[in-house]
Every structure is written in C-alpha cells, then in structure tokens.
C-alpha cells in the first residue's frame, strides 16, 4: 500500500516495544460484538493510481464540461478564467498541507496571507474589517442574520425578494430552530410592484436586519442608500449579500451605501465552479461590531524581538474558548479557497479587477441586446452587471433542457430556482462573463430563436 510506510518487521518491533502480542490487543476496549472480523463488504482491495484514474475519467466523461460549450450559467456561481499561477500556488505543500495557524511562529505564511485576504475583502466590500472566511455565501448570510440578532437583540429579519432562493432556504431552515422570524417574499417578472417601497414599508421597530442581495438573483443592481437610512432609523442593520464579487470592480460597494454587514460568495475569484464546492464565504462588517463576528480573525502584532507578525486573535468569540456561548460553531473554514481568492486578487489588483469587471459588463450588454432582439423574448432586469433575466414566451425549464441537448448551457430557469411558485416559470437567468465568446452568444441566440419559433436547429 503506497501510502503506508511501516513494514511487517517494524510493526513487530513496535508491538514488542508496546508490550503486546498482536494488533488486536490494542483494540481491547472495543467490545467483541462491535468488532468487524471479515473484510469490508463489497469494497475491493487497494487500487493502483492507474486504476483509480481510469474510474474517475469514465465518470467525468459523463458530465458536460462548462469550458467546452457555450456557457451562460450563473445564479450564485460564476465561471471566470483563473490564472495558471493560482493553482500552482495553492498546491504548494506548505499551504496545502498546513492547518489552522494555531502556532503562529511557524505559520506566518498562512497568517500573512489571511491578513492580506481580510484587507482585500474589506476594501472590496466597503467594510472596515473582514474575517478569515466562512464556508460559503449562504452560510455567511445566515451567520450575518444571527449576528444582527445578537447586536440588536431583536428577532425579525426581512429578506428582500432578490436574495438567492437557496440562501433564503438556508436561513429559513435555521430560523425554524432558533426562533428567528423571517419576512420573505418572492420576486416577480412583471415589474409592476415597487419592491423597494415594499421593503421600506416592512421595516419596523421589531426589525433586526434587512437583507438585500447586490446584484440580486435576477441580476438587478439597485441603490441601497434609502434602505440603509430607513434601517438605521429603526435601529435595524442592513446586511448586503454579494454573490458575484467581480461586480465590485464596476459598481459602488455596499459598504459605501451604508451596509453594516456585507457577506458574499468568493467563488468567482480564483476558486472555480467545482459543482458547488468548496467555495469561500466572505464576511465583512463595521469595526464596532467586530466582537460579535463569527469565524477566525487574523491580527497584526509583534514578536519578542519587535518584528511585525500575525496571529489569530479575538478568539474569545470562538467555540474552542467560549463553547456554547460562542458567536458561531464554525471551526475549519475555507482557508485554501481564501488563498486562491487572494492570489487571484493580487494578480488582478485595482486595475485588473476594474478592467475585468468592464469586460464582463460589456459582454453581458452585448448578449442582452442580441437575445432581446429575438421575437417574444423580453428583458426583465433593469440595471445589471453581468447577469440578467429574460422572460420567454414559454416555460424556461423546457428550453434550458432543449438547449442542453444541443450542448448549450443557456442559463438557469426560474422554475428550477422557485419550483413552487406561479408566474416565474418563463424566467431565464443568464450570466455572461469574460469567458464567453461572441460566437457563443451567436450560437446561443440562434438556437434559442429556432427553438422558440418551433423549429429544430
């Protein structure tokens, strides 16, 4: 077995040193009836690298690779180009095979990286501080709601209809057990209701926080200033959720518009799609709330010789010290994904992120213009960054499947995101990033045109 270095001879020597006859003597505490005597049912014996690789390649071949087809899917995870050096750096064993930096004198590499990550995230989201990562955007979002409850000592959270429905589901799941009250509603395609007015109206003295997504699930970008003011008036916090951080290169940050807590999904920078995980939750807030934050925080200090160094800090918030009084139960977070994010952000820098964001926006506008030129296809989204929603003349779920049958991954149907709601079935959410080529847009538009006109392409 290639990973196990002990020889039988050495095992014998070690048993002798321990003073037992056989390995079974080390398992004496396990009651007889709980011991497995035979081999593990059905599992074959060890396999060579070649054999494992063959099996994995066969499974992988059954999937349609995003990068090999015209690809327009977003809705909370985005396909961006990840520079080659990112994957090289995260595979350095000193990063890959280290753990949480509990011993700071021999973990300055991870700690300095986390300090840089926290700074990048805080600046990007427009917050004073940011933590060293959460699991993903959806768990960050719930942690923010629960942090707002601790700060305001109120239990009612208002979630805007623009928040990703899966994030809303996570919050609902938790709220059912914690006793938080969630005020949620569904988005609409008709554009007749004034969502902001409804949201503003629902804020009252009981409200602990208002949660808005920016850009939202349909791709809309809306000014958060008025909501922020109203929330402040009622001593509620404004929580902004960013699922596409590349947008921060083109538009104002939520912090600039007054958000108290900004959480996000960092996947689109450096991490890759990976069928949903591992991703990296971003979590930033105003400095005055830092002691209520969940998760690890890295802070600057000096060593005994006066040299600058970094440590994990404010850990009296955390489970290993505070146990059932901790701000969160999180322990292992998304360290390596935070590194990938940070390396990609370092490569981009200020200029790169802004240029990248504008390329995304420009391509999305081009795609939107082309697709809405198709008869019967209408734009639902107002202002947008790199994602928008179309209303098709028919159920979008079937269209998405027909496109997939032609090797085109043409967005996410609202029917899949909101299976139990009427009136959204014709909605199709489309994301366009720098990886999309002009010809992809043409292929997609032509296929959609043909399908909608009842033909087969």
């Amino acid at each position: 077995m290639r990973y196990l270095p002990l020889s039988d001879n050495e095992r014998g020597q070690m048993l002798a040193k321990i003073g037992v006859q056989s390995i079974d003597d080390l398992f004496v505490d396990v009651p007889e009836e709980a011991r497995l005597t035979g081999p593990i049912r059905e599992l074959p014996n060890h396999a060579s690298e070649m054999a494992v690789e063959r099996h994995f390649k066969a499974l992988a071949a059954k999937n349609t690779v995003a990068g090999e087809v015209p690809f327009f899917i977003g809705a909370g995870a985005y396909r961006h180009h990840v520079p080659a050096s990112v994957d090289h750096i995260i595979q350095r064993g000193e990063f890959l095979t280290a753990y949480t930096p509990y011993q700071p004198e021999i973990a300055q590499g991870t700690l300095q990286m986390l300090f840089e990550f926290q700074t990048q995230v805080a600046r990007m989201l427009g917050t004073d501080v940011a933590n060293a990562s959460m699991y993903d955007g959806s768990t960050s979002c719930w942690e923010a709601i629960s942090m707002a409850r601790r700060i305001t000592k109120k239990k009612k959270a208002i979630l805007s209809p623009g928040v990703h429905p899966h994030y809303v589901s996570v919050a609902k799941t938790m709220a059912r057990f914690t006793g938080d009250i969630l005020d949620t509603s569904l988005p609409t395609l008709d554009g007749t209701t004034d969502l902001e007015a409804e949201l503003l109206n629902s804020i009252d003295d009981e409200t602990s926080c208002v949660v808005v997504q920016y850009p939202d699930i349909l791709g809309n970008i809306n000014d958060l200033t008025r909501i922020s003011h109203k929330a402040q008036e009622y001593k509620a916090l404004l929580i902004a959720v960013v699922t596409e951080p590349v947008a921060m290169g083109a538009i104002k940050s939520p912090g600039e518009m007054g958000a108290d807590i900004v959480v996000g999904e960092g996947q689109s920078i450096g991490v890759g799609l990976q069928f949903g995980g591992p991703y990296v939750g971003l979590f930033g807030c105003k400095a005055k709330y830092v002691r209520q934050m969940p998760g690890r925080l890295c802070g600057e200090t000096v060593d005994a010789e006066g040299k600058r160094g970094f440590v994990l800090t404010l850990s009296t918030r955390e489970q290993h010290i505070r146990r059932d009084k901790a701000t969160s139960n999180i322990c292992t977070n998304s360290g390596l994904c935070a590194l990938a994010f940070s390396v990609h952000m370092t490569l981009l820098g200020e200029k790169g992120l802004r240029d990248l964001a504008m390329v995304n926006h420009t391509k999305a506008v081009k795609a939107a213009d082309r697709l809405t030129s198709i008869e019967g296809v209408e734009m639902v989204t107002g202002n947008f960054f790199n994602e928008f929603t179309l209303r098709l003349p028919t159920d979008a779920r079937a269209i998405v499947q027909q496109l997939a049958d032609q090797q085109i991954l043409g967005g996410v149907s609202l029917g899949r995101l909101y299976p139990d709601s009427d009136g959204l079935d014709n909605g199709l959410v489309i994301a366009v990033t720098e990886t999309v080529l002009d010809e992809d847009i043409e292929i997609f538009a032509n296929a959609l045109e043909t399908i909608l006109s009842g033909g087969v392409s």
């Binding site: 021999i106 009084k325 200020e350």
Partner: protein, 527 residues
Amino acid sequence: MNQRDLNQGRPSRIEGDIDTTNGRKLSTFSGNKALMLDEPLIFELGSRETCGVDIDVMEPIESRLGGLERHQPIGLAGLSESETVRHYTRLSRQNYAIDLGLFPLGSCTMKHNPRLNEKMARIAGFADIHPMQPISTVQGALELIDELAHWLKTLTGMPAVAMSPKAGAHGELCGILAIRAALEARGDAREVILVPESAHGTNPATAAFAGYRVEEIPATEGGRVDVEALAARLGPDVAGVMITNPNTCGLFEPDMRKISDLVHAAGGLVYCDGANFNAIVGRVRPGDLGIDAMHINLHKTFSTPHGGGGPGSGPVVLSEALAPYAPLPYVTKSSDFFQLVEEEQSLSEDSDTFGRMTAFHGQMGMFTRALSYIMSHGADGLKQVSEDAVLNANYILRSMDDVLDAPFGHSGPCMHEALFSDKGLADGFSTINISKGLIDEGYHPMTMYFPLVVHGAMLVEPTETESKHALDNFIGSFRHVVNQAKEGDQSLLQAPHFAPRARLDETAAARRPILVWNEPETAQAAE
C-alpha cells in the same frame, strides 16, 4: 480554566543574533538570513497600476449600471505574475506543513495528502461543472456522489448519509437539526443536549446554535463518559447526547452501546462526533453501536488536505430514525438516471426534510479526493490505516510514559492519539513551553490544553502515514524537550529561537485589534 491563556503574554526579549567568537553580533543588511526571507505585504509591494493578468479591454459601450458606477478607488494592490509567484513562495516557506514533517496535532488527523487525489479533483469533468447545470449534463458527478455515499454508509454501517455539510461542525449541526426535527415530529422537541466535558468546543457551540441548552456530563477517572451520571441526568427534557467516539482523550468508549440504549429508552437520540473515525475505520462500524447520527471529517480520515484551515467536508450518516429528515439536496437513483432532489415539492412520501444547509450540493472537490483515497486503499488498505494509526500512537505512548505523565496510559492502550499532562514539569513550565521547544526541534507541536479534562493536556496524533524512523526521531526530540522542561532549562521559556518569528504578542493583538492593513499615515486600530 485560565490555563488556556497561560503564558500567552509577551515573553521577555531573547538573545539577539548569533554571537561570533569576537563578541560581535552577526546581522545582515536586509534582515534576511540566507534562506529565511522576510516578505512585505502585497500592499507595500504592489501598486494600483500593476496587473498580473492580461485582459482584452473592450470598446466602451453605453453602461447599464444605472448610475451605480464605482467612482471611489477600491484600494487594491496588484503584482505582476512573477512578483506574485515569488511573494507567495516566500510566504509559504514560513509555514510548517505535513509535507515537511510529522504534524502530530491531536484530533486533527494530519496524515499525508496523496497527490493522485489532487489530480482527480482537477479533471475538468469534475472541476469545471456548474452546480446548476441541467441534471442530464452532470450524471457522472451525481454518480460519484452516490458512490462515495455508498462507501461511507458501508464503512459506518448506517443506512443513510447527508452529503452537503461543509465541515465537521456543519455536520454536527446537520445531525442535531435532524434530531430536533425528528423529536418535533413526535410533538416533543425537548430542551437539553448533554455533552461530555471532554468534548470539542464545536459540540456545545453547535447544540446552542441549533437552539438547545447544553449541559455537561463528567468524565470518569479513566477518561470515559461517566455512564452513571449520564443515566441519572436523562429524562423527558433531554433531546439527546453528543458523544465523541473514540473520544478526545484518545480512548474508545466501551459502553457506547449501553449509552445508546439508555438514551433511546429515555426517548432521546444519539449524536456521535466521528472526528476520530481514523482509529476504527475498517474495524468497527459505529452503526453497530446504536448511534443515530455521526459526521465524518473527510479532511481527517479520508485525507482531503487541510489547506491552512480548510476547506473540509462533513457528511453525516443517519439511522433509520433520522434518515427521513435529511437535508436537501440529495441524490437519488432510478434505473440508470441520477436525480438531484432540490426542493420540498419534489420529495417522495418518506421524506420529511428539515431543510437546506448550504447553497449547493456540498464539497464536490472533497468528494472526488475522498473517493480516490477510499479506492486507492481498498478494503485491505483501510483496515491497515486504522491499525497503523493506533500502533503508531501506542508506540509514542509507551516511548514517552516514563518521562511524561500519561493520565490514562496505565489503564491500557490508547487509540489513534496519545494524551499526556503537564504533571511533573518544573515550576513555571507548562505545556506551551514544550510546544515551543518542539518548534525549535523542527516539529509542529501537538494539540495543547485540549481536552479540558486533563491538566496542561498534550494530545499527540501521529497518524498512520509516519514511518518508524520518523517516529523515533520525533520521540527523541519530544523526550529531550520534556526533560528540559522538567529540569527547568530557562532557554525553553523563550523558545522558539529558530522559527521565522520569536514568540508573538497575542495579548497586544487582542487588546488593540489590527485586522486590515491601512496606509501608514492613517494606520489605527480597528476599534
């Protein structure tokens, strides 16, 4: 209690740089010491104009950003690719890692991370697929999840598994929510979760996060759950227990079956923290001990890399009683087609899910690695894993117990980790000094001051991927440092002497937190 904060304050200044024979101190102009290279922050190195990616900027169009265009600078620093690679390579060299040497951090199972697993996870058919792609285009991915789920159920002897939890603590949450949902369905959610005092901090934190009140159960002299105390506390208000097995003292709970029966008889349910599954994989099936839920840290037993703090993955195996409450989404198979059940309305009759824990389907990148690990080891290899893990830990236990107090060592063997206390060290010396001494010896220290039931705990977990040669070297260093601490060797109090940094001032860091970099003229504390 305060022992966790002991000696965390700023130590006194240590001797300066190396003295030469003529008494002059040796130092360099740069501050570097040959291969020991200091590195500034990216914000001190880079600029707003520098970019390490070539982006084909497009002709400007009429913006649809609706007046929300960014006018303020973000404040990011960019580096060219060459500078970026150098920056992170220099940083990486200030880290200890498994690839460099033995990493006996108890409870964390820091075993070798096979590189085949990295290669498998990077196959485009797994790495470059979107979680919301049409189900027909991700059949291979769903099949892989189903396959891993099958082996996890087989290895634990449990009928169901929830794959979406993102780490151990998230798995605990999944299990406790399932317990609560099952009790609510009986019309009686109950109020209290019992947790042994030796439990990991995530256990009480999770129970509280799920809306339960936590009560502690004492340990026996022998380091096990006090079954009598537990039985006495059971009652109609107790929703369940969270028992770690093997426990955090590195011992198997021989009465686990009895505990399960007692809890069930009192109407409660049993959560098992499976962080230490590495000790028993292939030899014991937790399902045979009557438990209702257990998380498996794929980043421990199944070797997915710890990555400097994550990501992890924490699938939860469930009993018949809890299976109906498993979270969404999950994979089902009908004839040859794999389905992803994402929403309540598409549920079958026997499901009564408690909801959703995360945006998508779990840690796919960890699933690929874990399956690659399981196949590579196979039935024979996995059994050998637990045997060698236990053998290595006992070898350390018996090679140290003449110099270091092993509070439970006299009563018999340990499982995959050996636990020591700081009894017998010279006055003023504690576990942290041994840790810092081990750093100078070229090792990552063991877990210190955990579990809380042992004074100055040192929890040593070597794992099965260490050779006898590596163990012998470690034991030599460990004995040396322990003897220094027993003899009161003052130099140990200022250790580490040879690390990239001397002891760091954690008190100052917490008193005046600096959590982000600020331009020097505006630098100030975060609060």
